[in-house]
C-alpha cells in the first residue's frame, strides 16, 4: 500500500473561497468557503477514497489537484514540486502525470470528434510517444479499456454510457499518468455497467501501478476499491484512515450516520440513525464544529470550539467526543 516514505501527492492546507454575487445593490459581498483547510497525502500505488455529500467540497478538491481550479490558499505538491509552478520548475511530464475522469462522460467528450481522435489528441500534444507511434499507442490503450477497435471510428453519441466512460478512461491513461483523479466515474451508470467499469479500474490500477483519488458518494464502492478513505463535511476532512478501520469502527458521528444511511441487501444488525436537518450552506458555516447542528452528541464545547483532526488508533478524527 505505502510504497515509499515520500507521498506522491501532497495536499497542504488547501482553502478555496468562491465569491458569490452581492445580495442586492448595497448588500454585502458573500463568500462561499468550499474548502476550509484540507490536507491529505496519496502514496504511490495507493487509492484514496474521498467521500461526503453534495456540497462538501470533494469535487472542488479533485479539480484543484488537476489544476482546473486554483486554490485560494495552500498548495498541492506532486513528487515534492508545486503543481502550479510554471515550466522551468516542473516539466511537461510532471504536468500530465495527474489525469482526471469525470462523472459525466458524455459531457467530457467532444461530440464532434471520433473516439480515436479524442484519445490521440492529448497523446500528440503531450508528446507521450514519437509521432509515428501514436496510432499504435492509441490502439493499445483502447484495447486496454475493453473497447473493440471498430468503435474507434465512432462518435461519442453513438456509444453507450459505459463505453463513453471507457473512452474517458482511455484518454486519461493514454498520457501515462502516475495519479488518476476519478470524480464519481460510476454514478451515472447502471449497476451492471458500474461493476464492469469498477473491475476495469482495478485492472488498470494494478497493471499501471497507478495512485488514485476516488471521489464518490457511494460508500460501498469506496470500501471495495480504496485502501484509505477521507470523509469530508462542509469543506473539512472530519475523519480519515484505512478503509476497513474507518468503515468498521467509525469514530466521527457524521461517518457513523453516513454509513448507517446506506441501504443494504443484508440483514441489518445496527440501529439505523437518521440525521435531522440538511447540510447547511457553505456560505453560512455554523461556528464551532460545523456538524454540531445535526449531531446527536453535540455539547456546548462543540458549538464554540472547532475540533482539530487528531490521531486516534490508526485513524484521524475531528471530533470532541469521538465514538
Amino acid at each position: 500500500m505505502i510504497a515509499g516514505p515520500e507521498p506522491l501527492l501532497e495536499v497542504q492546507d488547501v482553502v478555496k473561497v468562491f465569491d458569490l454575487p452581492h445580495r442586492g445593490f448595497f448588500g454585502a459581498a458573500r463568500r462561499l468557503r468550499a474548502l476550509a483547510g484540507v490536507s491529505l497525502d496519496i502514496y504511490a500505488e495507493e487509492t484514496l477514497g474521498l467521500v461526503g455529500e453534495s456540497g462538501c467540497g470533494k469535487t472542488t478538491l479533485g479539480r484543484i489537484i488537476v489544476r482546473l481550479e486554483t486554490a485560494t490558499e495552500g498548495r498541492v505538491l506532486f513528487r515534492g514540486r508545486d503543481v502550479r509552478a510554471r515550466s522551468g520548475t516542473t516539466n511537461s511530464a510532471d504536468r500530465r502525470s495527474i489525469q482526471m475522469v469525470f462523472q459525466d462522460a458524455t459531457g467530457s467528450l467532444n461530440p464532434r470528434r471520433r473516439v480515436r481522435d479524442i484519445v490521440s489528441l492529448p497523446v500528440r500534444a503531450g508528446g507521450v510517444v514519437a509521432p509515428g507511434l501514436v496510432d499504435d499507442h492509441v490502439s493499445q490503450v483502447l484495447e486496454e479499456v475493453g473497447l473493440p477497435s471498430e468503435l474507434g471510428g465512432r462518435y461519442p453519441g453513438q456509444l453507450s454510457g459505459g463505453q463513453q466512460q471507457r473512452v474517458a478512461l482511455a484518454r486519461a491513461i493514454a498520457l501515462e499518468p502516475a495519479v488518476l483523479v476519478a470524480d464519481e466515474p460510476l454514478s451515472a451508470l447502471d449497476v451492471s455497467v458500474q461493476a464492469q467499469i469498477l473491475r476495469l479500474l482495478e485492472r488498470i490500477r494494478e497493471r499501471r501501478h497507478l495512485a488514485m483519488l476516488f471521489v464518490s458518494h457511494d460508500l460501498a464502492v469506496v470500501r471495495y476499491l480504496c485502501d484509505r478513505v477521507a470523509v469530508m463535511y462542509l469543506g473539512r476532512i472530519v475523519e480519515s484512515g484505512p478503509v476497513d478501520e474507518v468503515f468498521d469502527h467509525p469514530r466521527h458521528p457524521y461517518t457513523v450516520a453516513l454509513l448507517s444511511a446506506v441501504p443494504s441487501t443484508r440483514q441489518r444488525t445496527d440501529v439505523p440513525i437518521e440525521l435531522a436537518g440538511e447540510v447547511p450552506s457553505a456560505a453560512d458555516i455554523p461556528p464551532g464544529c460545523p456538524f454540531h447542528p445535526r449531531c446527536w452528541k453535540a455539547q456546548d464545547k462543540c458549538r464554540a470550539v472547532l475540533p482539530q483532526l487528531d490521531s486516534l488508533n490508526g485513524a484521524r478524527v475531528a471530533c470532541h467526543f469521538p465514538e
Binding site: S160, V191, Q196, L219, A220, P263, P272, G277, P293, W296
Partner: protein, 350 residues
C-alpha cells in the same frame, strides 16, 4: 433551519415493513383484498428503430397498505409499467393488451374523465427529480392548493389550511413561510417533501414512487424513506416503489418484483427473495453490487447488455448473458412458475 438529530431507533414509529400485517407479505389467497391488480400488461412504443416492447406481459397485485418494490436496470420497463397504470402512455406509445384493475375497475381504456378522477386522488405519483415536476413560477403553497381543489370542493382558505398542515406533516420546517416560496428556494430533499405533500393532498390509496430518492444524498434519502414509512403506516397507503437500488428494496418493501427486458423475472416476499434469489439475473444483480458493511465479496460483473427490445426473442431474454443457460433457453421463453409458495420465477432451471 437545522434541527437536532435523533436516533431513529428511539422513534416510536415502527418501520414500514413492520407496520404491515403478515397476511399480505406472503402468498395472497383469493379472499384477501386486492387494491391494484395488473394482468398481462403489454405496452409498446412505435419508434423509428422499430416496435419497442417496453412492457411485455407483466402481472402483479398490491394489497391495501402494502409496499411493493419493482427493481431493475434502465430500460427494463419499470417506469413504463407505472405510467401505464396511471394511463399516462401517449403516442407513439400504447397499451396493447392487459388489464389494470384498481378496486375492481379496469383503468385500461377508461375514459379520460375517470382517469382524471383517479389520478391524484386515488393514485398519486412522485418522480425522481422533484424540481422538474414542480412549476417554477408558482409558489409551493399554490401548487399544493391546486392539487387539493382539483378533487375537493372546498374554499381557498380551507385549502390553504390543509396545504399548511400537509407541509408540516412531511416535516418541512417553518411551513408557514415555505408556503409562499418558489421551488428554486427549496433544496432537493425539501422539494421531494413538498412533492410528497402534494401527492398526499387527497389521501390516495396508492402512491407510486418512481426513484424518489435517486437524486438525493444518502442521509436525505434515509429521511425521505423514513417519511414514506411513517405516512404509509399512518394513512394505510399502499406504495409501489420503483428503484434500481437493491438495498432500498430489501429494506423497505414487503414484496419485490425484479424486472428484466419488459418482463418480471422473479417475484416474491422480499425476505424470501433476498434470502434465496432464484433467477440467474437476480443473483447476478446481487453479485455485482459491493456491500458497505460486513465481509467484502468479490464482484462478479454482469457482462453484456440488456437485449434490444425491438427484436422479439424466441427464448429467454436473459439467455445471452446468463451463466447457467442450457439448450432449452434460446428456444423457449420460460413461463413464470412458483418455485416456492409465493415465490415465482421465470426460468427453465425451476
Amino acid at each position: 433551519m437545522p434541527v437536532a438529530a435523533t436516533r431513529a431507533g428511539t422513534d416510536p414509529t415502527p418501520g414500514l415493513k413492520e407496520t404491515h400485517s403478515a397476511e399480505h407479505a406472503g402468498e395472497r389467497s383469493q379472499n384477501d383484498s386486492v387494491l391494484l391488480r395488473v394482468e398481462k400488461l403489454r405496452t409498446r412504443f412505435h419508434t423509428k428503430n422499430g416496435l419497442v416492447r417496453a412492457v411485455n406481459g407483466v402481472s402483479f397485485s398490491i394489497g391495501p397498505g402494502e409496499v411493493v418494490g419493482i427493481v431493475g436496470e434502465s430500460g427494463c420497463g419499470k417506469s413504463v409499467t407505472a405510467l401505464s397504470i396511471l394511463g399516462l402512455i401517449r403516442p407513439p406509445g400504447e397499451i396493447v393488451s392487459g388489464r389494470v384493475l384498481f378496486e375492481g375497475q379496469d383503468l385500461v381504456g377508461a375514459s379520460s374523465g375517470t382517469l382524471r378522477r383517479i389520478r391524484g386522488k386515488e393514485i398519486a405519483m412522485i418522480f425522481q427529480n422533484p424540481l422538474s415536476s414542480l412549476n417554477p413560477v408558482l409558489t409551493i403553497g399554490f401548487q399544493i392548493q391546486e392539487a387539493i381543489l382539483e378533487h375537493d370542493r372546498i374554499g381557498r382558505r380551507a385549502a390553504r389550511e390543509r396545504a399548511l398542515d400537509l407541509l408540516q406533516r412531511v416535516g418541512i420546517p417553518e411551513a408557514e413561510r415555505r408556503l409562499h416560496q418558489y421551488p428554486h428556494q427549496f433544496s432537493g430533499g425539501m422539494a421531494q417533501r413538498a412533492m410528497i405533500a402534494m401527492a398526499l393532498a387527497n389521501r390516495p390509496k396508492l402512491l407510486i414512487a418512481d426513484e424518489p430518492t435517486t437524486a438525493l444524498d444518502v442521509t436525505i434519502q434515509a429521511q425521505i424513506i423514513r417519511l414514506l414509512h411513517r405516512l404509509s403506516g399512518e394513512l394505510g397507503m399502499a406504495v409501489l416503489f420503483i428503484t434500481h437500488n437493491m438495498g432500498l428494496v430489501a429494506e423497505n418493501c414487503h414484496q419485490t418484483l425484479v424486472m428484466y427486458a419488459g418482463k418480471i423475472a422473479e417475484s416474491g416476499a422480499t425476505d424470501d427473495l433476498f434470502a434465496r434469489p432464484l433467477h440467474p439475473y437476480t443473483q447476478a444483480l446481487l453479485a455485482c453490487v459491493p456491500e458497505v458493511k460486513g465481509e467484502r465479496h468479490d464482484l462478479i460483473p454482469l457482462e453484456g447488455f440488456p437485449p434490444d427490445l425491438t427484436v422479439e426473442s424466441r427464448g429467454c431474454a436473459f439467455e445471452p448473458r446468463c451463466a447457467q443457460r442450457f439448450d432449452r433457453c434460446p428456444i423457449e421463453d420460460p413461463e413464470p412458475r412458483d418455485a416456492e409458495p409465493g415465490h415465482a420465477v421465470r426460468c427453465h432451471l425451476y
